[in-house]
């Protein structure tokens, strides 16, 4: 049934949205691109406890935006580049859409009969 499948998809989408809604988590995504920072290393960058940073990372992991890998005694955090790349290409699509609209606005403003339908 379509509804059930959409429900699953939306469930994941909602987790992604919740994960991205916080500025600290968005900053973690930017800093964890290289995958060389551990949870405790990240914690030193923010004025909050390691536990608080751990919670943020757990929310990002739950949304599939970062992956954790064990490296000795540390857990390294790495942003999922595929997810971010997907977002980039989708944003590029919307950029194209808006550039087309802006060109047309330019035409409307340039036409002498600005208020009439062409």
């Amino acid at each position: 049934m379509v509804v059930g499948r959409t429900g699953l998809l939306e469930g994941h989408a909602n987790r992604v949205f919740r994960a991205l809604a916080d500025p600290t988590r968005r900053d973690v995504l930017r800093r964890a691109m290289q995958g060389t920072l551990s949870v405790s290393g990240l914690a030193r960058l923010y004025p909050m406890s390691t536990t608080a940073v751990q919670k943020h990372v757990a929310i990002l992991e739950d949304a599939g935006l970062v992956h954790l890998t064990r490296h000795g005694r540390e857990q390294l955090v790495k942003t999922d580049i595929d997810t971010i790349a997907k977002a980039q290409s989708l944003l590029a699509g919307f950029e194209l859409l808006w550039r087309g609209r802006l060109d047309l606005i330019g035409d409307v403003l340039a036409s002498p009969s600005g208020g009439d339908r062409s």
Binding site: A13, A85, L90, L91, G100, D103, G115
Partner: protein, 161 residues
């Protein structure tokens, strides 16, 4: 019209486009405030828009449809969150009849006038990557065909100019 800045923020799922027009802010505002002018640029050339309701007040609605070459009508709507002519407009935007199951996006427009020019900043915020895919035509549904038509038309415009 010149696009002077674009920011694709993949973490925040937002797109910001800053453009400059050789016209005063009052004039640029009219392309949003006058439904007949809005019709001339909102839909791509192969999907011209017809605005049905146009209530640009706080809480007001704009409804429209776009007509494809085969006569197919694709409906869309805005819900106005705030409006301050000729400086700013914020609205929620969706396709089909207002429906929680279909993706809605947030749009923010700001106009700043400098001598003889107006800078227009448009910020579009998406809730989820899944929504963006659906709106750009990688999913299923009404918005899909619409978005595919828009993108095709714009690619045609960009490559032709």
């Amino acid at each position: 019209m010149t696009v002077i800045a674009v920011d694709r923020d993949s973490a925040a799922l937002s797109l910001t486009i800053v453009s400059v027009f050789d016209a005063p802010a009052e004039r640029v505002w009219q392309v949003w405030a006058d439904p007949r002018q809005l019709e001339r640029w909102w839909g791509p050339p192969n999907y011209p828009a017809t605005v049905v309701d146009h209530d640009l007040t706080n809480g007001g609605r704009v409804t429209y449809y776009m007509t494809g070459s085969d006569g197919e009508k694709l409906h869309g709507w805005w819900r106005i969150i705030s409006v301050d002519p000729p400086r700013s407009l914020e609205f929620e935007e969706g396709c089909g009849p207002p429906n929680e199951d279909l993706p809605a996006t947030m749009a923010e427009v700001r106009l700043v006038e400098t001598p003889e020019k107006t800078t227009m900043t448009i910020i579009t915020r998406f809730a989820t990557i899944a929504d963006m895919e659906r709106l750009l035509g990688m999913g299923k549904g009404e918005g899909t065909r619409l978005a595919v038509g828009q993108i095709d038309a714009i690619i045609a415009i960009t490559t032709a100019s």
